[in-house]
Symmetry: C2
Subunit: 146 residues, 2 copies
DNA sequence: TAAGCTCTTTAGAAAGATTCTAAAGTATTG
DNA sequence: CAATACTTTAGAATCTTTCTAAAGAGCTTA
């Protein structure tokens, strides 16, 4: 288990610590977002969805703040962005290297742990470049036989 | 070499045939786009870029028509869409299964032929689903040593 | 070739996601 | 508490993509 993984719900004080640890102020909005994002296992979520969850939870927060914080969390390494759909961004609370199933039907992501899938025989990289990440998206849809 | 591959520049009459073959009318705009897309080897291109290339080539065409035709060509199997950047769509004239290098620096795509890269040990799919495609994006950036 | 039909193109409006601006609010430090 | 720096926010702006509705072009048939 890597240092950043956490399988049990996180207490509010821990969430504040986690925010402070990346040099951000634990505002009411930030704590609420951290709670929605990190309290209860890994999540893959869009800005709009997170916004509506926050409003549902009774937290008054603007969409601009959602975007600000998603980007700040991403820069801080608490989130990563997953590109699977050209029309919206997904943010992933699992920042360990891993891949994804993408359910085309409902726009949902599911983790594939790094060890469960191997990419091999990557050809020589173009000159002067290095790998910054490898993303594998297995796009799946409802199967019609069976 | 699969049937759809073509290594030599395509003549205008061939382009018309190709458009007719997928039950579309060979309009001036469509022929011009087909020429830009299919005349000279594989391409990875955005709508805006294709639009400006068409205008540069002296073809009066609206951006709506670019989008209409990119989608019609994609539906017809002459193009595929590659999702690598959450802010814009790329269209690929290579419709054979293959993967990509993505140069993060300049937003450029480069093919990795299917045979040059292997994805193995894909875990069991979620119940009732089948694979619709597998996309591997190797994101690369300028390397700072060397 | 003309008529009629269908498909295509287009300008401009609209939509949807994301970012920006600038002003008010809040956390932190001294 | 005061000063400072960071944060939030409404609303405007931006950007890409899609839609609308009307004019234009290709195709078929007579
Ligand atoms: Mn699309
Ligand atoms: Mn972004
Ligand atoms: Zn994930
Ligand atoms: Zn390609």
């Amino acid at each position: 288990m890597t240092p950043l993984e956490h399988k049990r719900p996180m207490k509010k004080a821990d969430l504040e610590d986690r925010i402070r640890a990346v040099d951000l102020r634990p505002t009411k909005q930030r704590i609420a977002l951290a709670e929605l994002l990190f309290s209860d296992g890994n999540r893959h979520i869009t800005a709009e969805k997170l916004h509506s969850e926050a409003l549902d939870a009774g937290v008054r927060i603007s969409l601009a703040t959602i975007y600000n914080n998603l980007h700040q969390f991403t820069t801080a390494g608490l989130l990563r962005e997953v590109v699977v759909d050209s029309s919206k961004s997904y943010f992933d609370t699992n920042v360990d290297p891993h891949h994804h199933f993408f359910h085309e039907q409902n726009g949902t992501l599911e983790d594939i742990h790094s060890g469960d899938l191997t990419v091999s025989n990557i050809p020589e990289l173009p000159d002067g470049t290095e790998i910054s990440s490898i993303d594998v998206i297995v796009r799946i849809s409802p199967d019609n036989n069976s």
